[in-house]
Symmetry: C2
Subunit: 332 residues, 2 copies
């Protein structure tokens, strides 16, 4: 059998095999996504921006992907997990703060007075977060957060909060990184709290976590150095604060953004207004059985204006109930 003529055929077969294996790989890497419109849109987008020489090719340095955290990468019901942490911290730290017994909203937390706590509103929550998240160094705070994350359990699932992350989104993060994307969190959560678990749980390193930020002060006490956290809100990373922090910290417009609530609207708008190819996606909480079903009327993670905008702009809206095979890593 002559060997020369066989070579072009062999090369062609090799390319075919490589091509098949590439397409297969995309499906393999998103195994918890049903073959629905959202997975198709993701795979099409990633295929387009990574195709060298293609009209939509985006150089790796510009493949910035931003994700909200609460409700987008992990659950946020019955309340933002960080608020549950702050409430636990009030109880844990109470012995060092005897005045809290008589001072709202701390009194309400210590007495389990849900009505008084609810009445204190967002101002009350912010006061609790500021008090429980400051007065210590960043290192100490992260140690506190990690201790809580290791021991606390979600009231309904009885699982650690870090297991209540969305398996399909973990796969999406990995799929994007495998395709040269840099994945960021841009979230209303406080930045150090998210850094306490983002690298281990999401594979997102601290420098790619952007969030609500407290003031801090470098302290040098006879050569003992620390960064002291102050009870002062420096940046509220919600709504318009998201494109503002993206501009200030990343300095580049993302080409992909995922959120789940009206707090993500401006980040999605900003991403979708980019000149080149772009992808704006919403996780829609439609699964009352496996997770929670809520949108326009919810107090936590309200999705109303952003849902209208998504429909009018043809953004991708992920229907959790029909598009996700699994919700959590522990689901079978």
């Amino acid at each position: 059998m002559p060997s020369k003529p066989a070579q072009p055929i062999a090369r062609w077969m090799l390319l075919l095999l490589l091509g098949v294996s590439f397409v297969a790989r995309a499906a393999d890497e998103l195994p918890s996504w049903n073959d629905g419109p959202s997975r198709q849109a993701i795979v099409d987008f990633v295929g387009a921006v990574t195709q060298e020489g293609g009209k939509d090719f985006v150089p790796p340095a510009e493949r910035i992907a931003v994700f909200d955290n609460d409700g987008t990468l992990w659950s946020e019901q019955p309340m933002y997990f960080q608020v549950l942490f702050a409430l636990d911290e009030v109880r844990r730290q109470a012995p060092q703060h005897p005045a809290w017994k008589e001072k709202q909203p701390f009194k309400a937390v210590l007495e389990g007075d849900h009505k008084a706590l609810a009445d204190s509103g967002m101002q009350g929550i912010l006061a609790i977060v500021a008090a429980t998240h400051s007065g210590v160094s960043t290192d100490e705070f992260i140690a506190n957060a990690r201790r809580w994350l290791a021991s606390a359990r979600h009231p309904r699932s009885h699982k650690p909060y870090t297991e209540m992350v969305f398996q399909p989104m973990l796969e999406l993060l990995g799929y994007l990184r495998a395709n040269g994307f840099k994945t960021y969190i841009v979230s209303g959560g406080e930045v150090a709290f998210m850094r306490a678990f983002a690298e281990e749980v999401y594979g997102i390193p601290p420098e790619q976590v952007i969030g609500t930020t407290l003031g801090s002060r470098f302290e040098d006490r006879n050569g003992q150095l620390s960064i002291l956290r102050l009870p002062k809100l420096v940046h509220n990373d919600d709504g318009p604060g998201k494109p503002e922090s993206i501009d200030s910290i990343i300095g580049r417009r993302p080409i992909l953004a995922f959120g789940n609530s009206d707090g993500d609207l401006q980040m999605l708008q900003w991403t979708a207004a980019g000149k080149g190819p772009h992808f704006a996606g919403l996780v829609h909480h439609t699964d009352g059985k496996r997770e929670w079903a809520y949108d326009r009327q919810s107090k936590v993670g309200r999705l109303d204006k952003a849902l209208d905008m998504a429909k009018s702009k043809d953004w991708v809206v992920v229907d959790m109930a029909t598009e996700w095979k699994r919700i959590y890593p522990f689901d079978q």
Copy 2:
């Protein structure tokens, strides 16, 4: 000749060759550094933290290197280049601001009144920077900065400012990146100004540029989106502001830091106080012939306390005059 016994020898020779080529590579990549104590300290440090299985090995994700910009990566005499830009911007923007003709410190700039400008002090400079760096979108501002950088010339060298970068430091940045480091700028310069050239000149992408920050506001005018820069200082990235921004934005302690002035002292201290291996270095401006010679008495880039600290802590102090073969890329 039996082939089996030759194999171990061949393997040994291969390892030897690889070893020699590795050491040669380190020298090749820092060709503008004389074989002095600073280059040796750099090569030793990088060798130690990259040696897998070695006691000082640092995983790539933790190889964070931070560099001041003015006086560390490029020159800063006779005045910080960004201030020269701001003064040129006052003249360029003056027709749109008729009130500046009668208002200090703008009047002093427009009339070339050096004494009145000097009398306005740091407050005057800050007023000029705030006025000339705000009121436009980030995109517009970066376009302004790039236009200036393309046309302005340094008063002494008559070269573009972006050519007055230190060749040995460009080599150091590349050498660190080739060894798995992530290189950051952490500088008193305003962040968008530095982003206008950092990627092209230093190979440092926008998301690794940290600096002094102005407030901003996301604007949506009938669907036309922009990030408007406000004349409000949000973060002064100097002195203690450097470890504060490192903590807030990177969220990880650097293992290598380079500065050149007292404004870098806390960043160097913070880096040097890390638990693992660390490297703190100062560029000492000792070369009055090829660059400028200044330290304890200089108004720009004063190096006094940090020089004392460096001596007492055994930090690396680079003697530009004796340790650098070349200063600028255009030097022969």
